[in-house]
């Protein structure tokens, strides 16, 4: 059954498949650490996907495309931020609204871009490293976004753990009242975190439409945003575990695609639903038993802050 699958190729494509989820999950992780639950990741990702695609096709530059994708995601996040931080709207409902709106608007914007190929995102020339047998193909033959996504995990881990910025961010997420009493601008910090989350989700979406697929179709993200949200819970709000979760998910989706191509006896539909089934199973395992994920959630997650004084 596994005969026709090359392990080096499998791991290499696993790393590529996980990139959108890593980026979106890291963004959402920071947002949730600041105490905000943004369920609109799917909407921000798909807006990033369409904006990135349009900008890269129009400008002919993949780098500008990614900038456009990040801006598209951040623009959506700005709406969410205004609603939840300034209009004090329910965060769950606002996140859902973001997803519903994003799906519609992206398909509207992308209409005239169906069937076009975006400019390619080049591989990073690592010279002799890429020629190492096995590891060269697995680790050193990717485009720059793959490395940037891993770097973003490291950077987020370091900022959250070792810097004052991270400490303030976590304080706002754990107890907004205490942080407010200490004089921190809860609303401003949360807005910045939300914008960061949007930009990261937008980057992830742009990676799907510009590298992973690469073309524009409606609903291109197909639930990647929701998977990213699940990965954050799986990771118990810790960056490195989010990386592991994203690789686990990427591995399963690549494996099922390979099995489809290899003509496995399992029907295609059951293979394509497997990543979602396994995500649910992982969520169940994480939320029950000793390692209860809920215990490590930021204490003020999903609660709006209104300074009465």
């Amino acid at each position: 059954m596994f005969g026709g699958i090359d392990p080096a190729l499998l791991i290499a494509s696993l790393m590529v498949a996980s990139v959108p989820i890593i980026l979106a999950a890291i963004g959402e992780l920071v947002v949730e650490r600041a105490g905000v639950l943004n369920l609109g990741v799917e909407g921000m990702m798909i807006m990033g996907a369409v904006c990135g695609f349009i900008v890269s096709v129009q400008s002919g530059s993949a780098v500008l495309g990614f900038v456009g994708g990040a801006l598209g995601g951040a623009a959506m996040a700005l709406i969410f931020g205004l609603l939840t931080q300034f209009m004090l709207a329910n965060q769950v409902a606002s996140g859902l609204a973001l997803t519903l709106f994003g799906l519609g608007l992206s398909s509207l914007m992308g209409q005239s871009f169906v069937g076009i190929r975006p400019p390619s995102t080049g591989a990073v020339p690592l010279g002799p490293l890429a020629d190492i047998p096995f590891f060269g193909r697995v680790l050193f033959s990717h485009d720059w976004v793959v490395y940037a996504s891993i770097a973003s995990v490291a950077a987020t881990w370091w900022v959250l753990k070792a810097t004052r910025t991270g400490l303030i961010l976590r304080a706002v997420g754990e107890s907004h009242d205490a942080a407010h009493a200490l004089g921190y601008k809860v609303r401003r910090i949360r807005m910045l975190a939300i914008l960061f989350g949007g930009a990261m989700a937008g980057l992830g979406g742009a990676y799907i439409s510009m590298v992973r697929v690469p073309q524009w179709t409606d609903g291109i993200t197909s639930g990647a945003g929701w998977i990213a949200l699940a990965i954050v819970v799986f990771a118990a709000w810790r960056p490195w575990r989010a990386l592991i979760g994203a690789y686990l998910f990427g591995g399963i989706s690549v494996l099922q695609l390979n099995l489809q191509a290899a003509g496995a006896r399992i029907p295609v539909e059951y293979l394509s639903m497997s990543p979602y089934v396994i995500t649910i199973l992982v969520l169940v395992i994480m939320s029950s038993g000793k390692g209860k994920a809920a215990l490590s959630a930021p204490a003020n997650l999903g609660q709006n802050f209104h300074a009465s004084r």
């Binding site: 369920l39 209009m87 409902a93 519903l100 709106f101 519609g104 169940v284 809920a294």
Partner: protein, 362 residues
Amino acid sequence: MLRLEKRPSPSRFWQGATPILAVVLTMIAGGLMFAALGKNPFEAIRTIFWDPLFHPQFASYSRPQLLVKAGPLILIAIGLSLGFRAGIWNIGAEGQYIMGALFGAGVGLAFYPADLWFIFPLMVIAGAFGGWIWAMIPAILKTKFNTNEILVSLLMVYIAQNFLSSMSLGLLRNPEGGGFPGSRNLSQYPAASNPELIAGTGMHWGVIAAFMAVIAAYILLQRHILGFHIKLAGQAPRAARYAGVNPTGLVLLCMGISGALAGLAGLFEVSGPAGQISIDFNVGYGFTAIIVAFLGRLNPIGILLAGLLMALTYIGGELAQFMLGLPAAAIQAFQGMLLFFLLAVDLLSNYRIRLAHKKEAI
């Protein structure tokens, strides 16, 4: 500077006025969007909101469509609103809708071509059961393992969609369909069909079920202790615990009702207006119903009105697509915008906006 002051209790006036204000704001913002697309905004808004009901040529076709589209939206939204009130977020109604249609159509097709009176009632039960069982998965995972029901119920939609395509290509495929995907057409199988009951109105069993659901939900919320528990659990979870409300039971109940109603909506759709199971049988009613529930302020009567309005945007959108060449996606974005404005203006019912004096704003 403007300052927000929390009201002791939500303003009754603004609770009623905010949905209307949100619709007006959405019309303005939507008009700007249509203008950006190069269409005359006034003509577009008129085509969406006025022409489906009163256009001399098209109204006779589109008026019955109003009930056809509003039926499933109201049925699903009523179920969702109970959960949303209690702080239980079932956002996977789309999946429950698909499963209800599959279970119901499966039962009907199993009897083909028998002509027995109990086939359709049996399909209704099977449809409700299909939606219920699909909603029970996130509900039981929530109560047993404390898994987040938002994520699980949503992920189940993707599973249901794959299941739907598997079924329409495999088990339920029409053996006389020449190999095309899709089941037999249930509307051509009288014992299993859900026909238009009064010609020219669009009224079918699903619409009647939706009206019954509105009445039942109204009585439940106003007159029954369960309705009180649901409201209490949403507004004051700790007080609800002390009052003896069983949170596990409430999750199972709310998820179960919303799943069963979504399943019913799916069954009535597949046996009536849609006619058959096909790969793209679902058109997003399960998601739009979330907007309907909020637009109706989670209130049964409100949901009835909101469902009709939302159905109007569907029909008007189709009309605008046909007459003005407005893209279908524009309507989807328009509906999404409505929810944004609704959430934004909701501020007015919970807070007072005051001008802050410099001295106070330390």
